[in-house]
């Protein structure tokens, strides 16, 4: 990615867009009709990181321009640094025990709440991914619906996964022996570069449904849906730190996460093919669980269990049976 970096600034973009005729899939109209009165100057959103339940700027003070599928400027996104990744891991670790310790039912309720929060903003998400991917509005809406439905799907998993992948083991002796899945811990997720919303939800939801917390590096090209998702997460009873979202250069941030000793798992879905092997090697230093990228993943397909089991440990507890 060769787009220039810019200093972060709250000052308005130097290239105002006209309200009247946005290009199809182009940037959002900057001037909107305000009733019958004169056109109103839109209030633009500053896109920041999502770390520990808050929306900080990058500690580096950097940002980068995000352009739509047709090349128009959409917004500036924070260009997260190594230290932002470090802070995100700290937040994810701090949230882990509490999140993993919630009842499965409660985690399911919260995931469903995320779906509810997204449902109300479908239009906003659809506009964002239409801009990002240059797709038609109805296609964009179908993808948003699929993303919402994916939360609903995973909202049902927390209180079932233990029954599906755990169970009693009939050992040959007077022992009660039970295997249960437990979350791996802090998982670094490189979100898919394509499918900026459905793909993103499809990698986050299975990781946190089972009690992990995560640091997500959003799609570099199209980070805005991730940040809008963060807004839904922030109002959906999800404890701060369970999901942390970084935007910026995947290739810059990922090596730090792959080598970070307090990260337990690494989802390489969004890694460039030429970088994935090196990241996996870095992850070997602390024996992280690594989910390798799969080419041409179909995000609309039934997700199955694999994304959950990749970041589950099996704990087997023995106890004698006696009087």
């Amino acid at each position: 990615m060769s787009t220039p970096e810019r200093p972060a600034a709250d000052t308005p973009d130097a290239q105002p867009h006209l309200a009247a005729a946005p290009e199809p899939g182009g940037p959002a109209p900057d001037r909107l009709p305000a009733g019958a009165g004169p056109a109103r100057l839109a209030v633009r959103k500053t896109y920041k990181l999502y770390v520990g339940g808050a929306f900080p700027r990058s500690e580096s003070g950097r940002c980068y321009p995000v352009t739509g599928a047709h090349g128009g400027h959409l917004a500036n996104a924070a260009l997260a640094s190594r230290k932002d990744a470090r802070d995100a891991v700290v937040a994810a670790r701090a949230a882990f025990a509490g999140w993993a310790g919630r009842t499965a039912y409660n985690r399911g309720q919260i995931l469903y709440r995320v779906a509810e929060m997204m449902e109300g903003r479908r239009a906003q998400y659809a506009a964002e991914i239409a801009e990002a991917d240059g797709i038609a509005a109805d296609h964009a809406d179908r993808l948003v619906c699929a993303a919402v439905d994916r939360w609903v799907h995973y909202a049902g998993w927390p209180d079932k996964i233990a029954q599906v992948v755990g169970g009693a083991n009939p050992v040959s002796g007077p022992y009660f022996n039970l295997s249960t899945p437990e979350p791996t811990g802090v998982v670094a997720v490189l979100a898919p570069q394509r499918a900026p919303l459905l793909g993103l939800v499809s990698v986050i939801a299975p990781v946190i449904a089972t009690g992990n917390t995560c640091v997500v590096v959003a799609a570099e090209r199209a980070p805005l849906p991730a940040l809008t998702l963060a807004e839904a997460l922030a109002v959906s009873d999800l404890p701060g730190g369970v999901v942390n979202i970084l935007t910026g250069r995947t290739a810059e941030i990922a090596p730090h996460l792959a080598a970070h000793a307090d990260v337990n798992g690494l989802d390489l879905t969004g890694a460039a093919p030429e970088e994935a092997a090196e990241l996996e090697r870095a992850a070997a230093g602390t024996l992280k669980r690594v989910l390798r990228p799969r080419p041409d993943e179909d995000w609309t397909a039934d997700p199955g269990l694999a994304r959950m089991t990749a970041f589950l440990e099996t704990k087997t507890v023995w106890h004698p049976v006696g009087r």
Partner: protein, 508 residues
């Protein structure tokens, strides 16, 4: 420590006389109860002077002609020479495994694969005494353990997996899960035949073929297993055994012709393997080191807790990845527990591994003995108090007495590094929270123990321990139906149970 006749001279048949007067001082000398030497016969094993590689169903010399010598660690006497496989041999073995996979094993109906595994299980049962003695000779572990633990578990492992072979559609991995292909498997020296069973049984049951490298110091039972494969008429190439040391293992792991790598051994080597496998399509499971905590609460059944602590660290001379090498005892009961523990350790009988009354055998190799000595010394240097029972060690062979280090803190090397020997580090705690925090304060996460009579506290603790196996009110129990494996740097993947099949199948 109870004494046994000097085992360096196994031919000595005379019993040591009871000490006159005994330690009690009063009354007539107690008759006492010495156990005369009770050596298991070596005659059941017929060792060949040298062993070749087992490739494509036949014993075949190594291309390079290299050999290594495997010793009896109890007396340093050579047992046999064993071929060292080089790159060309690995090529041959992988090619044989591939042919067997594609031509026979991968397409054989599961029920038929199961029949072969049942056959192997039966032969292992039939030859269990021979295999137990051979394992004891090559490894140095007591015959009591090879006879009563290793071999029964080996046979059970093959029985268990034999039954899976035609039921894989019910393993929760889709209606028609597929094997991966050829598995490269590297195993350690601490449970040579048992680790072989943990690797080969699930691989074969799921339709994979294997190339397995046993440890350089304990290759003999794997070669005996090769004979068993012949005896069972297992199709050639389904199981290939390549012997050698680290270079052989590295060549096998790096070989591009395999689809799966399974390794049990040190975390250090595990990391190396994970790096080697990175960027390839190979699947990887790792079962690595540990620094298990054995937590004794003040309401524990103390006498059984003592037994659990002893078996936790002294079983197999502490050469156990899931050993309870850190005793975390609640401070309020430490003064009661530790004397009981010392008294119990004094009853352990160290000596001739072939003697049926031996509890503690030999350290497996000179290199391992050096490491145990070095770490035990580091513990003392760092201020821990070291205690061992009065325990004469045989003059020849590799021996280390059971050792308890008290006054250990989390900062000591002996509380953090895996010793893989009969050395227990004792730490104390005050509250359940502190016990859990200390237990988890390690990059490892393989095993842990909990001793309490209070059910809710046991479950509370078990829930919080970051370890793959939690033994509550017991320790070091294994079963083919029970998944085994670690959290964190103790590795990934599980062996045993339905979970263990996942490492050898593609969901489909």
């Amino acid at each position: 420590m109870a004494e046994q006749p000097d085992r360096a001279d196994p031919a000595a048949g005379t019993e040591r006389a009871a000490r006159p007067g005994g330690p009690h001082g009063t009354g007539p000398a107690p008759l006492g109860l010495e156990y005369a030497p009770a050596p298991e016969s070596r005659a059941v094993v017929s060792l060949r002077p040298s062993y070749e590689l087992f490739i494509d169903g036949e014993f075949t010399p190594a291309a390079g002609g290299g050999e290594l010598t495997t010793l009896n660690p109890a007396d340093e006497e050579p047992l046999a020479r064993v071929a060292v496989a080089g790159a060309a041999d690995i090529d041959r073995a992988v090619a044989a495994a591939r042919r067997a996979y594609e031509g026979v094993w991968g397409r054989m109906p599961g029920a038929e694969r199961g029949q072969y595994l049942f056959r192997i299980a039966r032969i292992i049962q039939e030859r269990s005494r021979e295999l137990a003695v051979l394992e004891t000779l090559d490894n140095g572990k007591p015959i009591k353990e090879t006879r009563d633990v290793d071999l029964p578990l080996v046979a059970a492992h093959f029985f268990y997996h034999a039954g899976w072979a035609d039921k894989l559609a019910h393993a929760g991995l889709g209606p028609a899960p597929r094997p991966l292909g050829v598995a490269a498997q590297v195993i350690p020296w601490n449970f040579p035949l048992l680790m072989l069973a943990w690797k080969i049984a699930p691989a074969l049951a799921t339709g994979n073929t294997v190339v397995l490298k046993p440890a350089e110091t304990t290759p003999l039972t794997a070669l005996a297993f090769a004979e068993i494969c012949q005896e069972a008429d297992l199709p050639p190439g389904v199981v290939n055994i390549v012997t050698g040391a680290g270079d052989t293992g590295r060549a096998l792991v790096a070989h591009p012709g395999t689809d799966k790598v399974a390794f049990t051994g040190s975390t250090e080597v595990g990391r190396e393997i994970a790096r080697a496998v990175a960027g390839t399509p190979k699947r990887l499971t790792l079962e690595l080191g540990g620094k298990g905590a054995n937590i004794v609460y003040d309401d524990a059944a103390l006498d059984q807790a003592v037994e659990g602590v002893v078996s936790g660290i002294f079983f197999n001379q502490g050469h156990v990845c899931c050993a309870g090498s850190r005793l975390l005892v609640q401070e309020s009961v430490a003064d009661d527990l530790l004397p009981r523990l010392r008294a119990r350790i004094e009853r352990l009988r160290l000596g001739d591994p072939l003697d049926k009354n031996t509890d503690i055998g030999a350290i497996n190799s000179a290199a391992q003995l050096d490491r145990v000595r070095e770490l035990a010394r580091a513990g003392a240097d760092e201020g821990a108090e070291s205690w061992s029972p009065a325990c004469p060690l045989p003059e020849r062979g590799y021996w280390f007495p059971p050792t308890v280090l008290t006054g250990v803190t989390q900062a000591h090397r002996v509380a953090r590094e895996e010793i893989f020997g009969p050395v227990l580090s004792v730490l104390t705690f005050r509250t359940p929270e502190e016990a859990v925090a200390k237990a988890n304060n390690t990059p490892y996460g393989l095993s842990a123990g909990i001793w309490t009579e209070k059910g809710s506290r046991m479950l509370w603790t078990a829930e919080r321990l970051r370890a793959g196996v939690v033994w509550s009110n017991t320790f070091n129990k294994f079963d083919p139906a029970s998944p085994f494996g670690g959290y964190k740097e103790s590795g990934y993947g599980r062996e045993g149970g339905r979970h263990g099949l996942e490492g050898y199948l593609v969901h489909a």
